[in-house]
Amino acid sequence: MSPTPASIYCDNAATSFPKPREVIDAVSSVLSRVSLSPGRSAHQFSLECSRIIFDTREALAELFNCHDSSRIAFTCNVTEALNVGIFGLLGVKLQPGDHVITTALEHNSVMRPLRYLGKTADIRLSILPVADDGEVMVSELPRLMQDNTRLIVANHVSNVTGAVVDVEAIGRDKGDAVFLVDAAQSAGVFPIDVVKMNIDMLAFTGHKSLLGPSGSGGFYLRQGLSLRPLKMGGTGSNSETEIQPDFMPDLYEAGTPNTLGIAGLGAGVRFVGSTGLTNIREHEQKLCRLFLDGVGQMKEITVFGPAADKERAAVVSLRVKGKSESEVAQSLDRDFNIMVRAGLHCAPAAHRAIGTFADGTVRFSFGLFNTEADVAACLKALEIISKK
């Protein structure tokens, strides 16, 4: 009986796996050594938890070139961060009838709040289109801007095609509009400089390329910008009053935080820092190029998104002629132990833009711990599946 091949994980766009040892140790250490009530009690355990959270904030601030780590607030994931941003602006910078611009490649964590505001607050939406080469046409931004454009939301990297959006160009042309960047797929791989890119709010997740555990994430909010918070409650500060503190990060962090997740996230961010963003990106892009070169020679396979010679993330959407996406994904999983994700990837808008709605695609997403051998195995499996 032949041994089962070791599993090959190619779903890093959903969540990264495996996690560095340091991340596992950080979570385990907090769970086993200290109780988890940071910033509330005055004892040594509470203080240690508070320090862990503070250190994670500082590490993220350094990663994003944010000069004041109090401008970083934690949430349970990037969806929450994006919701805090979009809904939190209503009644502050965004009024009923105002105009918002987003891109054609957005995830539902952006589209659903915006569509909801379209229905309930008469928010008008314009979409930056995708060109045939898979790139978002940021050059169309000035044409779409209106006098009452108050918000621009863009994902930095598409979770469907791996296309990189020129957020620096958007930051340059945004005028007075608030610029919210969804960094779910880019933080930990592509450089993000909130100052240079003129980003007003950056939403990030902890469990993808920042290599932290699920349940971690947050946002950066620039000095001078305030949002209506999603939740109010105990913050361990200003306890004499029943009024929510008006300063960050407490304003957006009511309730006991996910200290375990934030501890793991801190370890992940430090791991990314010590490995080097450029090294990580070059490794992943090399795997992506190998993969694209390989599938490019298989006539039954169509790839959607930017070509191999473009600046892109290691996220590849494809279809196999004559096979459904779920059939391909299931065969990869059951016959070859290769894990991918098939379907619409919570981004129906993106699939509409690239012409793969409603069946979607099979998505391979390579991460830091994938190898060339993994890519070779994927190509071999696809060759077999496509000829069946």
């Binding site: 509330r40 005055a42 508070s50 780590s69 361990g236 500060s237 306890s239 004499e240 407490d250």
Partner: protein, 95 residues
């Protein structure tokens, strides 16, 4: 530190307490992170205690680091604190 007069600086939240702690460690200023004394406030936060000899230096450092001070006290007894008047506290940038 027990033999010299100490000052207690109250910050707006644990984040700023830890930012102050990091600053003091970097600058080699002896300090202790303590619960906010009940005689000062019922807030469930922490404060930073340090030798009053360092007061001026501390005020300069906190000001340069944009750390706002919620209060500054001299400990003149085990459980007794005298507030230092606002005119004597350096003005910090507002958040």
């Amino acid at each position: 530190m027990k033999q010299t007069l100490t000052c207690v600086v109250i910050l707006f939240s644990i984040h700023f307490v830890l930012k102050t702690e990091k600053l003091f460690k970097r600058e080699g200023i002896g300090h202790d992170v303590i619960p906010v004394p009940r005689e000062i406030s019922s807030d469930c936060g922490m404060a930073v205690e340090f030798s009053c000899r360092e007061k001026e230096r501390v005020l300069d450092l906190l000001s340069s680091a944009d750390i706002r001070i919620a209060g500054l006290y001299i400990r003149d007894g085990k459980n007794s604190f005298q507030p230092i008047s606002p005119e004597n506290i350096a003005q910090n940038a507002v958040n």
